[in-house]
């Protein structure tokens, strides 16, 4: 066999698995739209997105997913309120404050936190956190948006910390030197030079953490309470889009309007997640350009 032939063969061999992921993505998108779009024969896009009632099995059924969208957003927002300050502060500590020894031991622990299955978080939330929340806030049940935000916030910390830490460590040392040489102390340097310089990367970290929370299914299914009602406070049970699909797909008859509606929810999820990723990509690229 000639050398060029051999090389082409090897190229092809490695090209196949790489292109497979593109095929899978395309396949998923096609199926999503094929199975989801038929719902709009029954209801309009406006009614679907802004309808206040999700009664898919009633007669006649109602397919308004506004409560689910708000449930997802509420839980995501709550989780970010917890995870962003903690995650970014952790990243600052690891990259700027901790001694090399502490840094070496904390980083693997945080990565381990990311590796815990979400069902374990959910279980922990259900059995340990929810009863405490009920007790502290004097509620009948502790399964609500607050508990879900708390657990999801903890789950998002590793993502936010590790990506922010990369961004902070990537800030060129010369900026730090310049700041110290002007008589700035460590905290002035961190707050006024390092964090702004790492801003793009930290924003990316927050968006990816947000995507992680927003797409999380098992944990919210277990601890958010599961009521498909427009939430009025953090202490009410909520249901997210992901949890709805997971909970109802098993009982929806294939080809029914309920089935189509669940796929249409998946389209909404997919579009929002996709925009998170595109946004993160744009921001990190702009950041790279700015630092030259």
């Amino acid at each position: 066999m000639k050398r060029t032939q051999k090389e082409n063969l090897i190229k092809g061999f490695f090209c196949l698995p790489a292109s497979l992921s593109i095929f899978f993505l395309l396949g998923i998108v096609i199926v999503l739209f094929k199975e989801g779009l038929p719902i709009f024969k029954v209801t309009s896009l406006k009614e679907f997105l802004f309808g206040k009632f999700w009664y898919p099995t009633y007669e006649p059924p109602e397919f308004g997913i506004l409560p689910l969208i708000l449930g997802s957003f509420l839980v995501t927002f709550g989780a970010l309120v917890i995870s962003v300050p903690l995650g970014v502060a952790g990243a600052i500590y690891i990259s700027e404050v901790a001694s090399p020894k502490i840094k070496e031991s904390i980083k693997p622990v945080i990565e381990l936190l990311a590796g815990i299955p979400s069902v374990v978080y959910g279980f922990f939330g259900m059995v340990i956190v929810a009863p405490q929340v009920a007790k502290i806030f004097d509620l009948a049940v502790g399964l609500n948006a607050f508990t879900a935000s708390l657990i999801l916030g903890i789950m998002a910390i590793p993502t936010i910390t590790s990506i922010s830490e990369d961004a902070i460590s990537a800030v060129p040392k010369k900026f730090k030197e310049a700041s110290y040489a002007l008589g700035a102390n460590k905290w002035e340097t961190i707050l006024r030079v390092i964090l702004p310089a790492a801003g793009g990367g930290i924003t990316t970290a927050v968006i990816l953490g947000m995507a992680r929370v927003y797409g999380e299914t098992m944990t919210v299914l277990m601890v958010a309470g599961g009521a498909a009602v427009i939430p009025r406070s953090f202490f009410e049970p909520v249901r997210t889009m992901t949890a709805t699909i997971a909970a109802e797909m098993g009982e929806a008859v294939a080809g029914s309007t309920h089935f189509y509606a669940l796929f249409a929810i998946a389209i909404v999820l997919f579009v929002i997640t996709l925009s998170f990723n595109i946004l993160a990509d744009i921001l990190s690229q702009r950041f790279r350009k700015r630092l030259g």
Binding site: F175, A181, L182, G183, R192, A197
Partner: protein, 265 residues
């Protein structure tokens, strides 16, 4: 082994004012000694150049003066450095660095606007009374650094979009905005083209009226052009120190002569 006759005909006579006095300075990086018992007096409002081949300890020596060496945990410093007679290790390092500014080898403006680069130190040290005062001080620093005419219409533009030479002058402006007493230059032109280098050299000449200047350079012509005193450093030893003209025309030490005539370096 190099035989060193450290000649301290240091020009310290009664009328000359010593700004920085380095006494028995020894610096180690772990087991390696990079500065060996250096004694040096820097005269006020003069340019003192430190020359020598790469790795001779020039940068280490200059970084010890504003305690930037503190940032390197392995570095250990022995001996004393006096600023106006006061030991720099008895001072708060942030205050010391306000008094002794530094311009680095690679231009290092912050990834902020031109204005914010200059305003940074003024804000840190709370050196302005009002917004107008801040603006006025930024303008003054940019004028002193001969950069004002080029940037006055784009103060809000991103500093890293300036050319290398402009960035270096911006760094000088940022440094002198704090009205330091001493400015340390660590090979400020090594990353610049000849035209930009000339501008920086002219600026240094101009600055010595108001500031005491120490400049590290491996460019001997540069030292000859702009400095009043020259110190020749070799393998951590101060081989020779004296008025620049004397060092360049009648060096007392064979090593200095060999270095200046290009026999090694």
């Amino acid at each position: 082994m190099v035989d060193i006759v450290t000649s301290h005909h240091s020009p310290v006579t009664s009328k000359k004012e010593v700004k920085i006095s380095i006494r028995n300075l020894n610096i180690w990086y772990q087991d390696m000694q990079v500065i060996k018992n250096v004694n040096l007096d820097v005269e006020k409002n003069k340019v003192t150049a430190i020359i020598g081949p790469s790795g001779c300890g020039k940068s280490t020596l200059i970084k010890s003066i504003n305690r930037m060496l503190d940032m390197i945990p392995e570095a250990e410093v022995g001996g004393t450095i006096l600023l106006d007679g006061q030991n720099i290790y008895d001072m708060d390092e942030t205050f010391l660095r306000k008094r002794i500014g530094m311009v680095f080898q690679m231009p290092n403006p912050f990834p902020k606007s031109i204005f914010e680069n200059i305003a940074y130190g003024l804000k840190i040290h709370k050196m302005f009374k009002s917004k107008q005062d801040l603006y006025f001080k930024v303008e003054k620093a940019l004028k002193q650094a001969a950069l004002w005419d080029e940037v006055k219409d784009k103060l809000d533009k991103f500093a890293l979009d300036l050319s290398g030479g402009q960035q270096q002058r911006l760094c000088i402006a940022r440094c002198i905005a704090l009205e330091p007493e001493v400015v340390l230059f660590d090979e400020p032109c090594s990353a610049l083209d000849p035209v930009a280098t000339v501008k920086i050299e002219e600026l240094i000449e101009d600055l010595k009226k108001n500031y005491t200047i120490v400049i590290v350079t491996h460019n001997m012509q540069q030292a000859a052009r702009i400095s009043d005193y020259t110190a020749f450093l070799y393998l951590g030893n101060l081989v020779e120190f004296g008025p620049t003209q004397k060092i360049f025309t009648t060096p007392q030490n064979k090593m200095t002569e060999h270095y200046l005539t290009g026999k090694f370096g």
